[in-house]
């Protein structure tokens, strides 16, 4: 069988085809060897090369020289330095992935540092605050502190009291709704700085049913809104406004947690 049609480069590579297969390290060489492989010319060349290589290896090496190679490879593999290891794309990719994972974990850990019983509900309500339009609420123009009676009388919600710090704020509207956990939540919209108040049941221990209390005010952030939460008599009150902690801080007594 004649040598198949090979490109000039493939023919050049076939002429340099390795004597032992493990030296065919690159794809272009393997491809050229594969294409040339069936021809008599190439088979003769390989047999010739193997015979010559065998004879080369039979060339006697003086004992003084031979002892240098008795326990060592002719070419020592290149050493892996730290710099070389770090530049390896696989190591680099793993490193970046680990940094990102560590970053996410740290971010979540820092976020959880401010967690308190009921913080998940509070975050959810901050989301609702951001999407609520005033038309959804029943228009009520009164002091926020007076709405406790309304919630008790109309909706049977006990201890849904607005703290004294926010009791004098004028309201625009209010409503009572159930959140995704079927908890009854009171929402109040006040005129001051698009602020909203939420009153919702405090989190309870799953086994004993006891209220999980926490002292003072706790700040919480979600989607550009900030809330300050306080628990009293098994009900949490949250004042929320769009902005940052410093925007809400002037309304919160200095004794906050």
């Amino acid at each position: 069988m004649n040598m198949p049609r090979l490109s000039r480069r493939q023919r050049a590579l076939a002429n340099c085809a390795p004597i032992t297969e493990e030296r065919a390290r690159d794809r272009s060489m393997r491809s050229a060897v594969f294409r040339a492989g069936g021809s008599n010319e190439f088979v003769n060349q390989q047999s010739f090369d193997r015979a010559v290589a065998a004879l080369v290896h039979a060339i006697p090496i003086p004992p003084e020289t031979a002892e240098w190679f008795s326990t060592k490879d002719l070419i020592s593999p290149s050493k892996w330095t730290w710099k070389k290891t770090v530049r390896n794309p696989a190591v680099l990719a793993i490193g970046i992935a680990l940094v990102v994972i560590a970053g996410v974990l740290v971010f979540q850990f820092v976020g959880r540092l401010n967690d308190f019983p009921g913080s998940a509900t509070a975050r959810n309500l901050l989301r609702i605050a951001g999407s609520t339009r005033s038309v959804l609420l029943d228009p009520v123009s009164a002091d926020a502190g007076t709405l406790s009676d309304l919630f008790f009388m109309k909706h049977g919600l006990e201890h849904y009291d607005v703290p004294a710090e926010f009791a004098d704020f004028r309201t625009i509207g209010c409503r009572v709704f159930e959140d995704d956990q079927s908890q009854r939540v009171a929402q109040i919209w006040v005129a001051e700085r698009r602020m909203q108040f939420f009153l919702f049941p405090a989190q309870r221990d799953a086994k004993t049913g006891a209220v999980l209390r926490f002292p003072g005010w706790r700040y919480i952030r979600q989607e550009g809104w900030v809330g300050a939460v306080k628990e009293h008599n098994g009900v949490c009150f949250m004042a929320a406004l769009p902005g940052r902690e410093r925007d809400l801080a002037p309304y919160i007594p200095k004794t906050k947690q």
Binding site: C16, V56, T65
Partner: protein, 143 residues
């Protein structure tokens, strides 16, 4: 490369002595094959002062299936002498290739050749060696 064990031994020892000195001074090059490149140049330098073999006028021959049996009749020293008498860079190309320790890219790097040059030198070397075999030894069928 040398075709003479005594000279090869001398060059080997000189190369290693020089390498040890450079290592002691912390001057070892970072390139992987510098020792082989160094040894190669020492071989070429040493053979410049030697008597040069006269070029043999034999027509090149295609490599045939009987070649391995012809090669099997040779003494290793005969092959060493044949390779060492080839002009450089063909001598380097043949010596490095049939040592079977390097792939073709490493040979290109070591011998400072292009792929087309290495290919031509090896192909020519095979045909010349086959012609020499045919002249020296009778063909016997390869079983």
């Amino acid at each position: 490369m040398m075709g003479d064990a005594r000279k090869a031994q001398e060059i080997f020892e000189t190369t290693l002595r020089e390498a040890a000195l450079r290592a002691a001074h912390g001057e070892l090059p970072k390139e992987p094959f510098w020792l082989f490149r160094d040894a190669r140049w020492r071989c070429l330098e040493a053979s410049e002062t030697d008597l040069q073999a006269e070029p043999l006028e034999i027509d090149d021959r295609d490599v045939v299936s009987e070649s391995p049996s012809q090669i099997g009749q040779l003494e290793p020293a005969q092959l060493a002498i044949w390779i060492s008498s080839a002009p450089d860079p063909q001598r380097t190309a043949l010596a490095l290739f049939y040592l079977d320790e390097f792939d073709y890219r490493e040979i290109l790097d070591l011998a400072e050749l292009k792929l087309s040059e290495l290919s031509r030198l090896l192909a020519m070397g095979r045909r010349q060696f086959q012609a020499w075999l045919d002249a020296m030894l009778p063909k016997t069928p390869n079983i």
